[in-house]
Symmetry: none
């Protein structure tokens, strides 16, 4: 009995493998968010054949460990990127170009906890997403018509 949360066959982070190292390298090399598939492709491009399943498994493990950030994009994909800070933070995303900025708000965290406590809620967690049009996109006169087909 080691970890009651672990299911057989699913990845954890106990042993160092070629695949884990390769994925970590790609995550390090890319500053922004990437979908699991993009990471998978990038690994191939680097000559590191890592199974898509493994990419997903590792990504999930990393998210649980808080080492990677996961965000759902409008088209249904989950995009990942290495966390810049281990702290809890939120994202400010541009609805046109997708540029994302990590922001922190102690006030918000506090407010959320306070509200929850006030109503007798415990084990609270929250999600806050801010979407807007970034300066460049707003200036470029580009309409927010990035909404094309999926």
């Amino acid at each position: 009995m080691s970890d009651p949360e672990r299911r057989p066959g699913r990845a954890a982070t106990e042993r160092s493998t070629r695949q884990k190292r390769a994925l970590a390298a790609v995550l390090d090399a890319t500053g922004g968010f990437r979908s699991a598939n993009e990471l998978f492709l990038e690994l191939r491009a680097r000559g590191q054949n890592v199974g898509l399943t493994t990419v997903y498994n590792q990504l999930r493990a990393l998210v649980e460990l808080g080492e990677v950030d996961a965000v759902r994009s409008d088209d249904g994909e989950t995009r990942y990127r290495r966390c810049e800070t281990g702290l809890h933070h939120h994202h400010l995303t541009c609805r046109v170009c997708g540029r994302t900025v990590e922001i922190q708000g102690p006030e918000v965290e506090h407010w959320a906890d306070e509200m929850a406590a006030e109503h007798g809620y415990v084990e609270v967690s929250h999600t806050l997403e801010i979407v807007g049009t970034c300066g460049s996109c707003a200036a470029g006169g580009r309409r927010g018509a990035s909404r094309s087909a999926g």
Copy 2:
């Protein structure tokens, strides 16, 4: 050939139908976000049998028309709610029994706008969801739900 954007068989908003009215009614009745399936089930509960496909089609059309807001939740579902043109409130939801409390936070609204402005973002909107375990549920059978991040 009237609307070049429209594909055959897909819903628009030209004719009034029983289904559209039913969906609109449910959206009106529920202040918060609901998944397509929840709306579908709610319609059934009301004795209004509307196909799930139709719910999806209408929801999509409404989102495109800007009458409904769509947000992706962490578990992969898209949740919808009628757009409110005024100050919106947030929801504090119990992860066990689903009890929901409406809360308002002028500070948060302000903070979000401030953050966005600070980074040069305009036309900002945000979504905030707080999830926890309410008093009753915490007192009763507790679960080791480890939902984090957000």
